[in-house]
């Protein structure tokens, strides 16, 4: 259904564009050629790729192709072969060094650093908890009150919900647990066992108005659905050496972890340099396209609840959240996109 609609609107859009070109009103530099967009295999990236596709296609008249990808293969292909043109949500964590090298060599251009606000990993509490205890607004203040989140197997301790067994974040959380001396402060590091266990524990706590304190990451449907609030760290980020050389290592390789804020998650919308040089208009759009984290989480909830694909959700977003996306584009482009929907 959606596909048919999109096809029909494409025909309209291209014919409008064709008319415009014939009338000689188009300027060569403003014209958008063909764009291939990498759609990563997780929900937020898929949504972002589809929104870019629709806006570029309908608003700017680009000829858009979406291809599926994953962080490493997509990045490698972009940097080595110049294909695809655009990766809307690339997490730097996994490809940090080659990414910086490619940007330095001029093979890749970061069109936007941080396409989604408020993203990353951290320690979260429930909304209800922040309302009941407004004075607890940092991790350090929370750590002084283990009695507020009693551990079910030992009521005298506080439960800190860590990361599932076997995930990379399990090491990070275990080391931070030691760095902040949480055991002495009366905390237990609880292993939820699996993503399902972690999500289930959040769902239960929110649904029953119980306190919950633990690890999660954004943008995710869970954060949006249960409206978790991230607690900032009082302590500053204590340097990459402490983080990469100790906190992110196994407990045996991290003898003396220092308290630190969470390492910042770096996410870029990257394009190939060739594309960047030839598509000033698109680059201008991309530089403006900053997705508010709360909106993203809300869209992820929508996708989750309705089992919507990235494409379904992109149409839903463009139809219902005009106030968000019309700020990214000039008024005439916004009109074109609206007409096409």
């Amino acid at each position: 259904m959606k596909n048919k609609k999109r096809f029909a609107s494409n025909v309209v859009a291209t014919s409008v564009l064709a008319l415009g070109t014939m009338a000689g009103a188009a300027f060569a530099s403003d014209e958008c050629g063909s764009v291939t967009i990498a759609e990563m295999n997780w929900a937020s990236a898929s949504l972002l790729a589809n929104i870019d596709a629709i806006i570029l296609e309908e608003g700017y008249g680009c000829d858009v192709d979406i291809i599926s990808g994953d962080t490493t293969p997509t990045f490698t292909s972009m940097s080595e072969k110049g294909e695809p043109d655009l990766a809307p949500e690339l997490w730097a964590n996994g490809v940090r060094e080659p990414l910086y090298a490619a940007i330095e060599d001029g093979r890749i251009v970061s069109a936007l650093n941080g396409p989604i606000t408020g993203l990353g990993e951290g320690w979260w509490v429930t909304k209800k908890f922040t309302e009941m205890h407004p004075e607890i607004d940092t991790v350090e203040k929370m750590l002084a009150h283990p009695e507020l989140v009693p551990y079910v197997e030992d009521e005298s301790k506080g439960a800190f919900m860590g990361c599932p067994a076997g995930w990379g974040c399990q090491l990070t959380n275990a080391n931070l647990f030691r760095a902040f001396d949480m055991e002495e402060k009366g905390w237990v590091l609880v292993d939820p066992g699996s993503a399902a266990g972690l999500d289930g524990s959040i769902a239960k706590a929110v649904n029953r108005d119980e306190a919950w304190f633990g690890y999660y990451w954004s943008p995710t449907a869970i954060i949006g659905k249960y409206d978790l609030q991230m607690l900032p760290f009082e302590v500053e980020f204590a340097g990459a050496e402490n983080w990469d050389g100790c906190i992110a290592q196994s407990v045996d390789n991290c003898a003396d972890p220092q308290p630190t804020a969470w390492t910042e998650s770096e996410v870029h919308s990257i394009v190939t340099s060739e594309f960047a040089a030839e598509n000033a208009v698109t680059m201008g759009y991309l530089a403006n396209r900053v997705f508010p984290g709360a909106e993203m989480n809300a869209m992820l909830v929508y996708m989750n609840d309705n089992q919507a694909t990235g494409e379904d959700a992109a149409y839903e977003f463009l139809a219902t959240k005009e106030d968000v996306w019309t700020k990214w584009v000039p008024a005439d482009v916004a009109e074109k996109v609206k007409d096409a929907l």
Partner: protein, 295 residues
């Protein structure tokens, strides 16, 4: 001919409303009764914690001694007793003592709960055809439904940890003991039952004096299967935060630690074999009169 190819399904919106209604119903149920359910299970939780602490905090030679004694009392076999001691020494030597004790505590309590619940249900099924017709499909569901389908609702109701883990284990491990108790009692020879009646045995005497003793081989096969299935659920249970041998297995799976996975997997197998041999030989000894009877 479209209507022949495309199945006339409920519309997408209706389907979504339908699912949401059920979900909301469950959430409301959890909000209303969750706390009382947790309170109901809290003695069980306390017992589980106490038992695990007992096993992990006691001096290890004492624990091995107690297990060896139980193995000996159950089996009266030197081979099994020595094998049990050897298995636990190896497990401890490879650094899996604490996890093994946590799993042992969990499985022992789970088996006990399953037997305590399962045998009466089995007896009820054997005595009433209506009960059998009602319970059998429920057992089918318990055995075949993918565990995560009920794990998540259980977590929403009771949180993560020991009690939901125990419930998950029991949902899977309960059916064999119920089925085999039922089968064992139903297989008792009608002639024997008539003879018991002729001697004027009361219903109670018939059940405890004739039917259950004669059904013991089947009941013990059921106990045995229940223990095996409980152990096979250890890894699943650790996915909702039950400590024990399952946790390192999960860690090994997601990081391709082959040795770690194998060691902990084999520790689960060792526990299974010990439980199996001891319960089997104990079952056989209980029926020693059979061999004597036939000379």
């Amino acid at each position: 001919m479209d209507w022949l190819i495309e199945f006339p399904s409920l519309g997408r919106r209706d389907l979504s409303t339908f699912r949401q209604t059920i979900d909301e119903g469950f959430l409301n149920f959890s909000r209303t009764f969750g706390e009382s359910l947790e309170a109901f299970f809290s003695p069980l939780l306390k017992f589980l914690i106490w038992f695990e602490n007992l096993l992990t905090n006691a001096p290890w030679p004492l624990v091995i001694g107690a297990i060896a004694l139980l193995a000996w009392l159950g089996s009266r076999s030197w081979k099994i007793t020595v094998g049990t001691i050897a298995a636990f020494v190896v497990i401890g030597y490879f650094g899996m003592w604490e996890d093994t004790m946590a799993t042992l505590a969990m499985i022992s309590v789970a088996t006990f709960v399953c037997i305590a619940v399962g045998i009466p249900i089995g007896i009820l099924m054997a005595r009433s055809n209506i009960a059998q017709r009602i319970v059998t499909p429920i057992l089918d569901v318990m055995q075949t439904i993918p565990s995560f389908v009920y794990l998540i609702p259980v977590v929403m109701l009771l949180g993560i940890g020991k009690v939901p883990g125990l419930l998950a284990v029991c949902i899977y491990a309960l059916p064999p003991i119920v089925r085999l108790t039922n089968l064992g009692i139903r297989l008792v020879d009608q002639d024997v039952m008539e003879a018991a009646e002729a001697f004027g045995a009361s219903a109670r005497e018939k059940l405890f004096g004739v039917q259950i003793p004669l059904a013991l081989p089947n009941i013990f096969a059921g106990v045995n299967q229940t223990i095996m299935m409980a152990l096979s659920m250890v890894v699943i249970a650790s996915m909702i935060g039950v400590k024990g041998l399952g946790t390192p297995v999960l860690r090994a799976i997601s990081n391709q630690y082959l040795a770690l996975g194998l060691m902990n997997g084999l520790a689960i197998v060792a526990l299974a074999i010990i439980f199996d041999r001891v319960s089997q030989t104990y079952g056989k000894r209980l029926q020693a009169y059979r061999e004597r009877g036939h000379g």
